[in-house]
Subunit: 293 residues, 2 copies
Amino acid sequence: MSEMRDLLRVGGDGPVNLAAIRPRSTPGLPTGDVVGPVPKAWGRAQVAQIGRELAEEQEKLAALAKTEPDFDRRILLVLQAMDCGGKDGTIKRVAGAMNPLGLHIRSFGAPTAEELSHDFLWRIRRALPAPGYLGVFNRSHYEDVLIARVDELVPESVWRARYDQINEFEAELVDSGFTLVKVMLHISPEEQRERLMERLTDPHKHWKYHSSDVDARRQWADYQAAYAEALAYCGTDRAPWYVVPADRKWYRDWAVANLLRETFADLRLSYPSATFDVELERRRLEEQVIPSL
Amino acid sequence: MSEMRDLLRVGGDGPVNLAAIRPRSTPGLPTGDVVGPVPKAWGRAQVAQIGRELAEEQEKLAALAKTEPDFDRRILLVLQAMDCGGKDGTIKRVAGAMNPLGLHIRSFGAPTAEELSHDFLWRIRRALPAPGYLGVFNRSHYEDVLIARVDELVPESVWRARYDQINEFEAELVDSGFTLVKVMLHISPEEQRERLMERLTDPHKHWKYHSSDVDARRQWADYQAAYAEALAYCGTDRAPWYVVPADRKWYRDWAVANLLRETFADLRLSYPSATFDVELERRRLEEQVIPSL
């Protein structure tokens, strides 16, 4: 199988054409023989299986951070998407298949008054995972070149300058042990309409619906243009962007799980070796008499 | 079935006798007919099933916090145990069966220099979950009346005064929307020895072993006494303590999952109702033409 990272990578070498990436496509999916008649069932089972592998890698990462004083490695998954793009679902399914102890999940909404009084990266820096963790950002500093641009929250000179600021910030993260996995979940406006309709139909989903979501659809093209430019400028070799076709939820989860698997594999983690005399400790433990027993 | 909370509750009405609670016992477990020939398999399946129910409750809790401005409800699971008592395993299995998006997990180790410069509750207050979350504390402020007492880190007058400080603090939490579920995972010294031996035998577990763990076993009786007193003083009606027999991992997980299920049930959560005109919104969405499509 090709590396999912190669198949889904965008940016770094000129414009990004999002319209050319079909949201219902399934790059990297094995042939029908492997997948069988119900791709969704296959995908779900694969995610559970990859989740167990990822949980093992998480444990190694945490173990190394706990035992090696200078260990600084950590992974940060950044999720961006249009409304209904599936950020929450991806976290539920992919992170949910892992060990919650090693996860560091942060969601970013509209900035608070305090956050606005600082530069746009201030709240991001405060939310970074410590070494040994898999961090997940549900939205991120990219909102500051997306909604900030489309809704004209700041002048163009301000948001445009942020591309370089983001690249410098992310290079600094990479230098301090981060591996960034930046993922845009790419849905079609038709799929978004269906998902909004579902939120209107299922009373258990009403709370996810906002009247403004329908109005925001008028800005679809503006958002796609903003995404394309951000991905082109900030899809650097050290901190690449991936576009995951996300109209099919099971494919989306499977693709993100694979991106994480490949990222962990690159780290070539192994459990720390004992810093004590194993045989001596076994004897001490065997021979010990606890007075209170 | 009796409420697990009634079966496992300790404290609030005089001394707690931990020695009378057998760590291999399984209070509340249904009869053999229900459980079948392999209790462990039954327990694991039950935890997965309860996990799905808890995830649904988590979603309601998050939904209410998102839509109701004054909503302040949240649950805080506090886990305490001797070394190898299974705190990490409980989080992996029980919290791992839920939705990571609604979890807020914090681990407390030896206090840092900065933390020591403040009162003992300072770092706890900073780590509290926001409304809408299920918080999990992996160790807690109870270390300040446990290890602080056994290792004589502070004079008796100081740790003894903390019982009242803790009760006041927890009453304040309850007044601000918290439901506290304080759990001591209760293992036997024999089980601890087996688990330590496993950490010495499996190279993947060497990193969890510390030479000092064996020495600390000499303080077993002191710790049990410290636990018993803390549970007696701080097992209040508003913030009760539960002792979960924890030599059998599958029972431990099943019991904690049930404590959480009963706690959520008491909250009687339901999904928020729509704050918009559902039919009007459906029509708006159906009739909308996106210029870019």
